[in-house]
Symmetry: C2
Subunit: 351 residues, 2 copies
């Protein structure tokens, strides 16, 4: 297999040929790399095989450019080295957003869609702490844990790997987060533009989530859940698997506890991850500390209205004369700081 | 050190001398065994040392007999072999209840006084399952986890090791459980009758809890909690340490998760314990299945009044025209069966 570090030798014709080969029918990642090895170059392979036309590639490239996106081809200098090393490395990735994040050390945080509040809070705390330390946080833009990890690392650097084409917003409820990551983070997709996120695309996507990352953190994986596939990919790829433990009485932790029994690293906080991976060093851009999401005024109003006694969020909105969205964001920030507790009936209290 | 299996050679005079030596001032367990080794017998030691008088021993023996209790002296056939093997084995144990339990394979279940409902339920489930399999369940008769473990194993075999003398009821709120164990299980104490359960007695007691047991199961150990001392004793004594994992966001699991990180066995259910210890074989008496605590009539009344909607326990008592204690026992039985959920405000619902 080619080494990513030899990328400078890939000229534009060979790069275009790789795109054609990658987008051809019946050419998966393994076939792509085997064809390169067999024919010596994608250009040679395109001479011999029925590959996608140059015109199709130009069309997709234009559509991607319209989204301010670009292709990152296996062999490009921007192609992330940890992923390039795999035998089934994605031949091409569509990228929208800040591609400089690909040079960062990355850590994946994945988990349940139907996550508990505690799980989402833990995901947010880890993503924020490790983001500040310099890790780009990788996840899959699903509901629950994935979304919490992306939200908490939007300011420091977040990378969402999609199962469908990069123009496919999925799940639709995460449209705002998808847009925010396109603007402030990085969206990646192996599938061509327009490809719907079909069921079989998710396990393929999961191998990229782990393949980009030095380690995968699993939060609330039930038995037979998708996060276990990501964890297995990580183990096969020689990446660390970190797992938040949970009660054996909570089925959301059945897969998680099984992973720990099988040798994954029980993870209590960010330090348990940093003590294994070390602090990241090769940061190519300065890390901002997460910004305060809302103005100080909104935060002050909400804080004043809050106390140790549970208060309904609706009542907070009325009392503070701040929008529901603004109150929600202030509450999220407080929660990530460990200063807020949520109660039944959409009530909250200060800790 | 003497071998417990040579116990048959200990005559009644030597046994009485061991009691005198054990009850002497400044003679702890280690000194006791060193004196035996140095002088060759307790009788010889009593000739040379200023030991407690024969009269004092007779007085304590009578007081113990008044509680239907007996001394179990190191070297007695009834002295449990796993404890006898330790260099600081208790020289003498006061025993009230079914001393035949000492011949059973034992498993300790210990944990937080201020335990969560989930922790208590887990303790009860483990104690019940492993009790049915033939283990006598050992604990410390504290509030919370200890009490839940004892209650769930009252029918199959439960052993409470006290920190004070065997006549000291502590904590006072567990008086009924203390009495129930004296009648249906086994109370053990290293301290003489009348000795109050002072603070320094608890770590000494913990080494007996683990020393009796093939393994110690820790449920909800906060940082720096007493259960961690029992776990450390167990590890030093070469016994297995089993730990229920929990959320890193719950301080009740801080010590528990630390133990798992340090190599203790993450425990999801009774099978995780049985797969390490195997099924017990040397059971000296048939194991009863736990009896239904209350009559079928009471249970039927309470069940009829219960449903998936949370109902106040007070209301149940009124509606069923059954005593509060009877309702509480039926609810406990349902809870241990995993059929009952508890809610805020002393409400319960069927699962």
């Amino acid at each position: 297999m080619f080494d990513g570090s030899l990328a400078a030798e890939v000229d534009s014709a060979e790069r275009r040929a790789r795109l054609r080969l990658a987008r051809s029918k019946r050419v998966g990642p393994v076939t792509f790399h085997e064809a390169l090895a067999h024919f010596g170059s994608a250009r040679a392979a395109c001479h011999e095989l029925a590959t996608t036309s140059e015109a199709d590639i130009v069309r997709e490239e234009k559509a991607l450019a319209a989204l301010s996106g670009q292709f990152i081809v296996w062999g490009d200098p921007a192609y992330p080295a940890p992923l390039a090393a795999l035998s089934d490395a994605a031949p091409v990735l569509s990228a929208v957003g800040d591609a400089a994040l690909l040079a960062r050390p990355m850590l994946a945080i994945v988990g349940a869609r139907k996550a508990s509040l505690a799980g989402r809070r833990f995901a947010g705390q880890l993503a924020q702490s490790l983001g500040i330390q310099g890790f780009a946080i990788v996840s899959g833009l699903a509901h629950g844990i994935d979304a919490a990890a992306h939200e908490a690392s939007l300011a420091s650097g977040t990378v969402a790997v999609l199962a469908g084409g990069i123009d496919q917003v999925y799940p639709p409820q995460n449209a705002a987060l998808h847009a925010a990551i396109a603007e402030r983070g990085l969206l990646l997709a192996e599938a061509p533009l327009g490809a719907p996120p079909v069921a079989r695309a998710f396990p393929r996507r999961n191998r990229i989530v782990s393949g980009l990352s030095q380690g995968v953190t699993v939060i609330e994986a039930a038995a037979r859940s998708g996060s276990l596939i990501t964890a297995r990919c990580a183990a096969e790829q020689g990446r660390e698997v970190f797992v938040m433990p949970g009660s054996p009485l909570d089925p959301r932790y059945a897969g998680s506890n099984d992973l720990i029994r099988d040798g994954a690293i029980l993870t209590r906080d960010a330090n348990d991850i940093l003590s294994v991976l070390g602090l990241p060093h090769s940061t190519s851009q300065p890390i901002e500390r997460p910004q305060k999401i809302r103005s100080g005024t909104d935060t002050a109003k909400v804080l004043e209205a809050l106390g140790p006694t549970p208060t309904a969020v609706d009542e907070l909105v009325r009392r503070c004369q701040v929008s529901a969205a603004a109150v929600a964001e202030v509450l999220l920030a407080l929660e990530l700081d460990g200063r807020l507790e949520r109660h039944r009936g959409n009530c909250v209290s200060l800790i």
